[in-house]
Symmetry: C2
Amino acid sequence: MDIRDIAKHAKVSIATVSRTINRVPTVDPVLAKRVWQAVDELGYYPNTQARTLVSGKSRIFGLIISDVTNPFFPGIVQAFEEIAVQYDYEILLTSTVCDQQRMEKAVRRMIERQVDGVAIMTFGMEDTLLEHLRFRNVPLVFIDVAPPLPQVSNIRIQYQIGIRQAVQHLAALHHRRIAFVSGPPGLKSADARVAAFRSAMAEKTLEAPDHLIVSGQHTIEGGLAALAQLTELPEPPTAVMCSNDVSAIGVMRKAYELGLRIPDDLSVIGFDDIHLAEFVIPPLTSIRMSQTELARLSFHALLADVERAVPQPNGTEYFLTTELILRKSTGPARSTL
Amino acid sequence: MDIRDIAKHAKVSIATVSRTINRVPTVDPVLAKRVWQAVDELGYYPNTQARTLVSGKSRIFGLIISDVTNPFFPGIVQAFEEIAVQYDYEILLTSTVCDQQRMEKAVRRMIERQVDGVAIMTFGMEDTLLEHLRFRNVPLVFIDVAPPLPQVSNIRIQYQIGIRQAVQHLAALHHRRIAFVSGPPGLKSADARVAAFRSAMAEKTLEAPDHLIVSGQHTIEGGLAALAQLTELPEPPTAVMCSNDVSAIGVMRKAYELGLRIPDDLSVIGFDDIHLAEFVIPPLTSIRMSQTELARLSFHALLADVERAVPQPNGTEYFLTTELILRKSTGPARSTL
DNA sequence: TTGAAAGCGCTAACAC
DNA sequence: GTGTTAGCGCTTTCAA
């Protein structure tokens, strides 16, 4: 079943069928009607592969994330897909689990499938891999980390806004020893959060000594270990801010194991504001970084690059704000400490 | 950059290049070496669209799920992708959020992209939609719900195994009023769990009256509402089993709000054993239905259908077992009740 | 406004 | 064992 069958059935040429399907306005309405009728009767669906082959545009965007299993990403995937469907794009999702081989394969797959652009939300992607994409002028969009290159856009997350709000909130509750459970060191988006934390603390003339900044690897297990480490300090923190919600959940879990009540004994603040944050016990105060908005920005960044005839010399920058969402996991500092 | 460039560069015909790339064994090693060298030097990647066009095989499987945002699915997506990569397949993911329009569009997209098979893990998919796929002889695999049709396989989940274990576990802890928070009524995989629950209760000569079986919609919010409803009963349950972990989390959350301690005041058992189950507070006892295994079975079901020259008259059935995973959310029944 | 025909990048049948 | 060539289903000139 192909365009020729439709042509035969509608008694027109295949060119007319093609034009009709593609809504070229110059087609005689009478013929167009016959074509649509044939399409309907035969249940014809155009073959995207063939279209791609001739047009050179696959209408596929790659989406590389580090781990679908991390609750932060599904929200993005969902939103990204929703917009993609709307614009008649397909999405090639790949969850690299930070495995170098998987990334390599991901890039290869994307190129072989002729993606029109790639959104990269994973880390540890080697430059040589990116070169393969850049070499083919595939538009790219990064979170946080893009160097200024043509066809490479960047979403800058304004961490300091939400983090400052969080620190101010804790300070107002008389917390002074505030710990920070960071993400994997070296990961730009994690380092940026630490930096924002330090500067927000400095603004309130609070100290942020190194021993109060521990790595939580952005995982539940990491959060577990981080709080274990923090509570062994001679002067443990009365509040802990986490670089993401998942590690905050780990921290809460460990607090439970240690018999620390939240927020009475320990205040906890997460980052990302994943759906689940609202439903953990107690509901987690978190810094929202809208996943929907992030997906929207990424998609439109790629779309803009695709539609732009001449590439911008320096890519484009987009900004995404963050904001504190107050729930029940924060309370006044324990005066006894 | 195409196969011709490689041919020119390696001083062979395009046929030889094609054979080399496709590892046809009869190629002269000397020529093959020249080809690979050219491929390397020019950074050539074969164009999948063109390959698909001629071979008729896209090496794409569709994966239709109801909601990536539901923590049950990411594990499946991850596992499915992992196997797909291994077999050089691509996956077209779509999260329908149970929206009829989205499903329709999903099916259309799949057909247009010439998928070689579709795994359907959503519900409310109308038969007319499926007909479009069946009409094109696209192999299909369902969870639980497939009628016996050629090219339509089915993964049967053995709910009763795990559910019986759970009921026996609760019975051993002297629970007699055990509630069941079900999924959306009409959803086959949810109804099957209710049925399994009823029969397991009957086996232990325990009653399972209708007022102790309430719908939790498989959502956190549903779980919240379900427990609210159950605690208003004149004789509230001492234990509640949930049709999935997400609603169990909702139940736990509501218990927290109501001041009910788990497991002292109320025992809770989930279903699915999502990653998170281990990390909620307290760790959730759950019935495991391996997501990895489910993905593996689905993938291989499709693969088998693709590779089978003559379709089986009745599709194939696969079985997936379930088992109770004991954690901390279950304890002895409160004797006072 | 419509149709004939070339060609997108590749595989596979066939001839050498 | 290798090369030539005819399509795969579609879009898009170009002529009519």
